[in-house]
C-alpha cells in the first residue's frame, strides 16, 4: 500500500535558522498519525512544509504527486486542509462566511457539506450570523475544524488543537476527529503536545527532536517505549 502523504529528507529553514534537518515520514490513506516532540522540535514546521507555507527542500509527495514546489493555495486546492495553531478563524467574518471559505475551492452548492457539518456541530447552525471573533476559544477551534471539514479534504493537518482549551473541550474535539476518521475515512496528521491524547487518537506516531525524527512506530509501540513514557507521558 502506498502512503497518501510521504516526506523524504525534508529540510526547512526560517532565514538562517534550520527548523527541519531531513524529516522523513509517511501517512497511510485513512489513518490518523501523530507528531510528538518538545517545543521547537519542528512539529509545526513539518505541517507547514506540507501545506507550503515555509521554504523547504527534499521530496514531498501527496497522492503520488510532488508537492514541494507548490504554495499554500495550490496545496489547499489538491485537498489538503491545514488548521493552524491557535484557532485560525477569520474573527472579523461571520460563522457562515468562515464555513463558506472552507469550501472556497469547491464549485456549486455547498448545502450538503453544510448539513453534514451541522450534524457534527449542531450549535454552529444557530450561530451562522454571529461574528466568529465573538465565539469562545473552544468554539473557535471547533469552527476551524468545521471549516476544514467543509473543504472535504483528503488530508487534514491539525496543529496543536488542544492549545488553550479546557480538557472537556479537548476530549470533545478529539472525539470528533476520531469520528470523522472512522465514518468519513478522513486522513489526519496531527501535531500535539499532549502525547496521551494524541496516541489515543492516532494509529501511529513520530517523535521529533531538534528537527529530526528520533523515533517512530505504532501508537502501542510508542506508548510502551520507555523514553517516550518518561519524556512525554510522564510516568
Amino acid at each position: 500500500m502506498t502512503a497518501l502523504l510521504e516526506l523524504e529528507d525534508v529540510e526547512a529553514r526560517y532565514g538562517p535558522v534550520h527548523a527541519l534537518h531531513g524529516v522523513s515520514l509517511a501517512v497511510e490513506e485513512g489513518s490518523v498519525v501523530a507528531v510528538l516532540g518538545p517545543n521547537g522540535a519542528g512539529k509545526t514546521t513539518t505541517l507547514r512544509a506540507v501545506s507550503g507555507t515555509v521554504r523547504r527542500s527534499g521530496r514531498i509527495r501527496f497522492a503520488g504527486r510532488p508537492l514541494d514546489r507548490l504554495g499554500a493555495a495550490a496545496a489547499a486546492r489538491l485537498g489538503i486542509a491545514h488548521v493552524p495553531e491557535g484557532r485560525g478563524t477569520f474573527s472579523e467574518l461571520t460563522v457562515w462566511e468562515n464555513l463558506r471559505l472552507g469550501a472556497y475551492t469547491r464549485r456549486g452548492s455547498i448545502q450538503p457539506e453544510l448539513e453534514r457539518v451541522f450534524a457534527y456541530f449542531p450549535w454552529l447552525a444557530e450561530r451562522k450570523r454571529q461574528q466568529a471573533g465573538t465565539l469562545s476559544g473552544g468554539e473557535q477551534q471547533m469552527l476551524a475544524l468545521a471549516r476544514a471539514f467543509v473543504h472535504r479534504p483528503r488530508l487534514l493537518l491539525l496543529d496543536e488543537p488542544s492549545l488553550g482549551l479546557a480538557p472537556v473541550l479537548v476530549a470533545e474535539l478529539f472525539r470528533i476527529v476520531r469520528e470523522l476518521n472512522e465514518r468519513e475515512g478522513l486522513t489526519v496528521l496531527v501535531v500535539e503536545q499532549n502525547a496521551h491524547l494524541a496516541l489515543q487518537a492516532a494509529e501511529a506516531g513520530y517523535v521529533l527532536e531538534a528537527g529530526r525524527v528520533v523515533l517512530s512506530g505504532t501508537s502501542a509501540e510508542l506508548t510502551a517505549d520507555d523514553a517516550v513514557r518518561r519524556s512525554y507521558l510522564g510516568y
Binding site: A72, A76, P84, G88, T89, F90, E97, L101, Q130, E139
Partner: protein, 338 residues
C-alpha cells in the same frame, strides 16, 4: 456543550466590545443629528438646500476616491498617494476615447474596464515586488507613481485645458424656490450606484469573500485555497475602477480637464478616509459626503473660510481626527493579539 450558557453571555459581551467599545451608537446619533440639521436648514433656505445638494454630489466623488484609498489600504496596508493621479489619467483616457468617436457612456464603461486592468497591472508589476520588503517601500513607490503619471499625462496630452461633453446636459430642476442642476443629481446617482455595486461584490459573492479573507488574514486565506496575491491585485483593480468613476464625475463639476484635476480632491478624499476610519469602506463614503457638504456650507456661511481655504480646512480635519480619534468614525482600533 457544558459551558454553553456562560459562553453565550461572554460572546454577547464580546460582541458589544467588537462594535468599537460602544462608540457606534454615539456616531449613529451624531449622523442622524447632522442629517436632521441639513434637512431643517434646507427647508428654511433655498441657498442652503442648493449648497447641500451640491455638497452631497461633490462629496460622493470624494467618497468614492476615499473608498478606493480604503480598499487599497485594507488589501495591502499601503496608502496609495497615486490614487488621484491614476483617476486623472483614466479621465484623460476617456477623453481620448471620446475624441476617437465613442459616445460619452461608451467611453465611460470602456474606461472603467481599462482602469481595472491598469490598477491590477500596477499592483503586480510595481507594488508586489517591493511589498515583500516593507510597506514603506511600497508607499514610496506610489509617490513615485504620482510624479510618473503626472509626467506621462503631460507628455501625451499637454497641460492645457481639455473639454469633454457633459454627461448629464445642462438642465436645471426647480423644486419650489430651490434650483438643482441635473449634473449634481447625475454625479451623485452614478457614484452611489458604483459604490453599491462594489459593496455587493464584496458582500454577496464568493470572489468578494475571498478578497475580504485575503485582506484580513492572508495566511489563513491561503490555507483554504484563496489565491491571496491575485485577490490583492484585484483589490487594486477595483480601487482604480472606483477612482476612475471619481475622476469622470469630478470632471464635469470642474467643467475642464487638466492634469491637476484630482489633486485637491485627493486631499478631500484623504480627509474623508481618515474621518471615516482608514479601514472602513462605509466610513469612507460617509466621510466623503460629510466633508463635501461641510466644506460647501462653510464657504457660504463662515466668513473666515474662503474657497482658497477649503483644502487647508480639509487638512485640518485630518489633523484633528488623527489627534482626537485616530480610528475615525467607523474604523477599528488596531488590536495586537498576544
Amino acid at each position: 456543550m457544558a459551558t454553553a450558557e456562560t459562553s453565550r453571555l461572554e460572546s454577547l459581551r464580546n460582541r458589544s466590545a467588537a462594535l468599537g467599545a460602544g462608540s457606534t451608537p454615539i456616531v449613529m446619533l451624531l449622523l442622524v443629528a447632522v442629517a436632521v440639521a441639513l434637512l431643517v436648514g434646507s427647508l428654511r433656505s433655498a441657498t442652503f438646500a442648493q449648497l447641500t445638494v451640491q455638497g452631497l454630489a461633490v462629496g460622493s466623488v470624494y467618497g468614492s476616491l476615499a473608498l478606493a484609498l480604503v480598499l487599497v489600504y485594507r488589501a495591502t496596508h499601503v496608502v496609495n498617494f497615486a490614487q488621484g493621479e491614476l483617476a486623472m489619467a483614466t479621465t484623460y483616457i476617456a477623453y481620448q476615447l471620446i475624441q476617437w468617436g465613442l459616445s460619452y457612456w461608451e467611453a465611460f464603461f470602456a474606461t472603467l474596464a481599462i482602469a481595472f486592468l491598469l490598477g491590477t497591472v500596477l499592483e503586480v508589476t510595481l507594488i508586489r515586488p517591493v511589498l515583500h520588503r516593507s510597506v514603506i517601500a511600497a508607499v514610496i513607490v506610489t509617490v513615485g507613481l504620482f510624479v510618473l503619471i503626472d509626467g506621462v499625462v503631460d507628455w501625451i496630452w499637454g497641460g492645457d485645458f481639455k473639454f469633454m461633453p457633459s454627461p448629464f446636459g445642462t438642465r436645471i430642476y426647480h423644486v419650489g424656490s430651490v434650483s438643482i442642476a441635473r449634473l449634481y443629481i447625475g454625479m451623485f446617482v452614478v457614484v452611489i450606484i458604483s459604490v453599491l455595486l462594489v459593496w455587493a461584490l464584496f458582500r454577496f459573492t464568493k470572489l468578494g469573500l475571498g478578497m475580504r479573507a485575503a485582506a484580513l488574514r492572508p495566511a489563513e486565506a491561503a490555507f483554504v485555497g484563496v489565491r491571496v496575491e491575485w485577490m490583492l491585485a484585484l483589490g487594486w483593480g477595483l480601487a482604480a475602477l472606483l477612482g476612475a468613476v471619481a475622476g469622470l464625475m469630478a470632471e464635469p463639476s470642474q467643467f475642464t480637464l487638466e492634469p491637476t484635476l484630482m489633486q485637491p480632491i485627493l486631499v478631500y478624499a484623504f480627509a474623508a478616509a481618515v474621518l471615516g476610519g482608514l479601514d472602513s469602506p462605509a466610513g469612507a463614503v460617509v466621510g466623503g459626503l460629510l466633508i463635501g457638504v461641510a466644506l460647501n456650507l462653510m464657504v457660504q456661511y463662515v466668513p473666515a473660510i474662503t474657497s482658497e481655504l477649503q483644502a487647508p480646512t480639509a487638512f485640518a480635519v485630518i489633523l484633528a481626527v488623527l489627534l482626537i480619534k485616530p480610528s475615525g468614525l467607523f474604523g477599528h482600533r488596531e488590536v495586537r493579539r498576544v
